[in-house]
């Protein structure tokens, strides 16, 4: 690996490798590791980067995920830039520390290598693990390529550590499809990263003998409402801060992601738009290209930031279409209309739209089952059929389920 100079270095590696290189570039001070697939790859690469002298950080092998997340929370409290992560039930074992990290306002960055929850023995991708923390004050983003994983990791630190935010960020990545598959991506030079990412500064909240403060004393019913409200303000600020971060990122690194919150793909004049998160974008985009060649007005909208939720973009891109079809790699048992979590959120966002599209929901790819290009074509055909008829016969379809 060549890392000298001011030029990008092109390498081939997995999605988790890409995150590891970002951690090296961000000069992370403390990381904690615990094995679980598909997350584990990132810590294996970090360990190698440290062992080979490319990266200097305290690398702590933890007793379990709760241990892992408590370690970085407290490292963050004394001013260290930290990284942690997990998958599936491992991520949930840490939930107590995860919640305290956001309520104590520490800008920890974590990778969630998405994995099903869990029994009986499901180790493939589902998004339910990350979605379980939907309501605890973590910013949540989904990436669909190794390059985006690397870039988003740098952006995540910039956003999380912004004094207007000070909330943790979870970067979600589809297990196996992205964590373990190899892609070509560019590692930018450290000089550019230093221009983009200022040092982590906790200011007067830094725990140090020269700053005698008490962090997280018991507030009981007296102050919890006010603290939650402050978190809410930070989460609302995040929309602006994320925009600024992507704008600066494009300027410094020369990679422009356009709209930071969603990736619209041929949606402008579309009658039917499919919506999804993560690597499901690949087969769906291919389906869009082929259907467009046949004259079908279809498009795809990839949600990149789930928290804060891109409400305005959802309204902007979907309120004019005939059918909005959400592909959920998750499910929310007993939810309104018995659909997936993303479907439910989008339906809620569109309530304010002047023109509400018909909505369909495909529950697909659970437990790591592949969603192929042919599957995407089939889903589009069902949605196009609904668009022609002007009505949806079956709102939620468990796609490809064996009866």
């Amino acid at each position: 690996m060549v890392l000298k100079g001011d030029e990008d270095v092109e390498v081939v590696g997995t999605g988790t490798d890409a995150v590891a290189y970002a951690l090296m570039l961000a000069d992370v001070d403390v990381t904690s590791a615990y094995p679980i697939r598909p997350y584990g790859g990132v810590m294996q690469t970090v360990a190698r980067l440290i062992a080979d002298g490319y990266m200097k950080a305290e690398y702590i092998v933890a007793a379990h995920e709760h241990d892992q997340f408590e370690i970085v929370k407290h490292a963050s409290a004394v001013g260290a830039r930290t990284f942690v992560g997990s998958s599936g039930v491992g991520w949930l074992l840490a939930i107590e520390a995860i919640v305290a990290t956001s309520t104590d306002r520490y800008p920890v960055v974590a990778l969630i290598g998405n994995r099903a929850l869990d029994d009986p023995g499901a180790y493939g991708v589902e998004h339910n693990d990350a979605l379980m923390v939907r309501d605890v004050g973590w910013l949540l983003t989904w990436v669909d390529a190794a390059q985006e994983a690397l870039d988003t990791t740098l952006i995540a630190y910039r956003v999380a550590e912004d004094p207007r935010i000070m909330l943790p960020v979870g970067i979600s990545m589809d297990g196996a499809f992205l964590t373990h598959s190899e892609h070509a991506f560019k590692i930018p030079p450290k000089s550019k990263v230093q221009k983009f990412l200022p040092p982590y500064d906790l200011g007067n909240r830094k725990l140090h003998p020269s700053n005698v403060i008490s962090v997280a004393p018991q507030v009981n019913e007296d102050w919890v409402t006010e603290l939650r409200k402050q978190m809410d303000e930070a989460m609302k600020n995040a929309r602006k801060v994320i925009e600024e971060a992507y704008r600066d990122f494009a300027k410094i690194f020369g990679r422009d992601y356009g709209n930071p919150f969603v990736e619209p793909y041929m949606v402008e004049d579309a009658d039917v738009v499919m919506i999804g998160m993560g690597t499901v974008s690949k087969p769906i985009k291919e389906a869009v290209r082929r259907l467009r060649a046949r004259g079908e007005k279809v498009g795809f909208l990839r949600i990149r930031w789930f928290r804060p939720f891109p409400t305005e973009d959802i309204i902007r891109y979907l309120s004019g279409v005939k059918v909005a079809a959400v592909v959920d790699r998750d499910y929310s048992f007993g939810s309104p209309f018995d659909g997936g979590a993303v479907f439910t959120e989008i339906r809620s966002a569109l309530y304010e739209a002047e023109h509400r599209p018909l909505m369909m929901n495909f529950i697909g790819g659970l437990g790591g089952r592949e969603i192929t290009y042919n599957d995407a074509i089939n889903m589009f055909n069902m949605a196009l059929d609904a668009a022609r008829k002007g009505k949806v016969e079956q709102r939620v379809i468990w796609y490809g389920v064996r009866e």
Partner: protein, 321 residues
């Protein structure tokens, strides 16, 4: 010895709380260049209610089971930041404080993991009032045999709900983590012993562990003015041996050393037990059972309170046939 208090007025512990006394002496021994981490427990709930903290040191809360992780994260961060020049290099004490439930039960694996991370410097202090005292006095693995708690009442059908013998926590930490340089037991009723042990732990480097036995008037059932007396009786009856293991060298301290040398005789455990209402339902046979267990510890164990291996291993009954 410093005159300044670093665990000062402003806390809301019960009258006669020995855990608060322990913290006072620990803070005094540690001094101002210290970061304190407190897990959920009595000493969180009673001392750090917003606007009323007793800590004149930087202090942060950790989750009930998070003490081991929190001290490792803090110590590792300080090391990284100092080595990278992001913080000025200096010695900063890192002390994690947990109760018996948080440390010996919920947080055991995190504490154990922490004690193997020998490149970091910190002290884990387990204050043991033998119950989960801030949640209504419930049983933990550190609750002694026979004691009444809200989880172990004495009923018409079952007289002794807490049938399990108290876990030997300090010994487990010492024996289970062979590279740890300092492990000790202590109590607030012998403050000089406690003070010296904290100083040694913080000076020796690496992970260290101190276990204090803290009489609790509310949980144990006695007049608060007798806290020190009850604590001393725990040592005088031999139930609570005071010891330290420094760089692998074991040494009984204080009254326990005098018992071992024969200078003083152990008092009967009944003197300790009969003073507390949590033992009021125990019969003479029960107390005799406890006495036998304590005698065995002092007379047969390789090291009282530490190694429950008898000098003469009995030939198992089953092997004879």
């Amino acid at each position: 010895m410093a005159q300044t208090e670093y665990f000062d007025a402003g806390h809301r512990t019960c009258q006669g709380c020995e855990s608060a006394m322990v913290l006072r002496w620990v803070a005094k021994a540690a001094g101002p260049n210290t970061i304190v981490i407190g897990a959920t427990g009595c000493m969180y709930v009673a001392n750090t209610t917003y606007y009323t903290t007793a800590w004149a040191l930087p202090w942060i809360h950790t989750q009930l089971s998070g003490t081991g992780s929190a001290v490792v994260g803090t110590a590792a961060a300080l090391k990284a930041l100092m080595e990278k020049g992001k913080l000025p290099s200096e010695k900063i004490n890192v002390i994690g404080i947990c109760g018996d439930l948080g440390c010996a039960d919920a947080g055991l694996s995190e504490v154990s993991n922490a004690l193997t991370h020998t490149k970091y410097n910190f002290l884990i202090l387990m204050y043991d009032n033998e119950s989960s005292a801030n949640t209504d006095i419930q049983e933990t693995t550190m609750t002694p045999f026979g004691a009444l708690t809200t989880f172990s009442p004495s009923g018409k059908q079952i007289r002794i709900m807490k049938y399990r013998w108290k876990k030997n926590m300090a010994a487990m930490m010492a024996v289970g983590h062979p590279e740890i340089k300092y492990v000790a037991t202590a109590m607030a009723a012998d403050p000089i012993d406690l003070y010296n042990k904290v100083r040694k732990a913080l000076e020796i480097g690496g992970p260290t562990f101190i276990h204090t036995l803290d009489p609790c008037p509310k949980g144990w059932g006695y007049d608060p003015k007798y806290s020190h007396e009850i604590g001393k009786l725990a040592v005088e009856t031999g139930l609570w041996p005071l010891f330290e293991i420094e760089n692998g060298k074991f040494r009984l301290t204080g009254t326990s050393a005098r018992i071992a040398s024969g200078e003083i005789k152990r008092k009967p455990v009944k003197e300790y037990i009969s003073r507390q209402t949590r033992f009021k339902h125990l019969t003479d046979e029960d107390i005799e059972y406890i006495q036998r267990k304590v005698d065995e510890m002092w007379e047969k164990w390789l090291i009282p309170g530490l190694l429950p291996l008898t000098k003469e291993l009995p030939y198992p009954e089953t092997a004879k046939t």
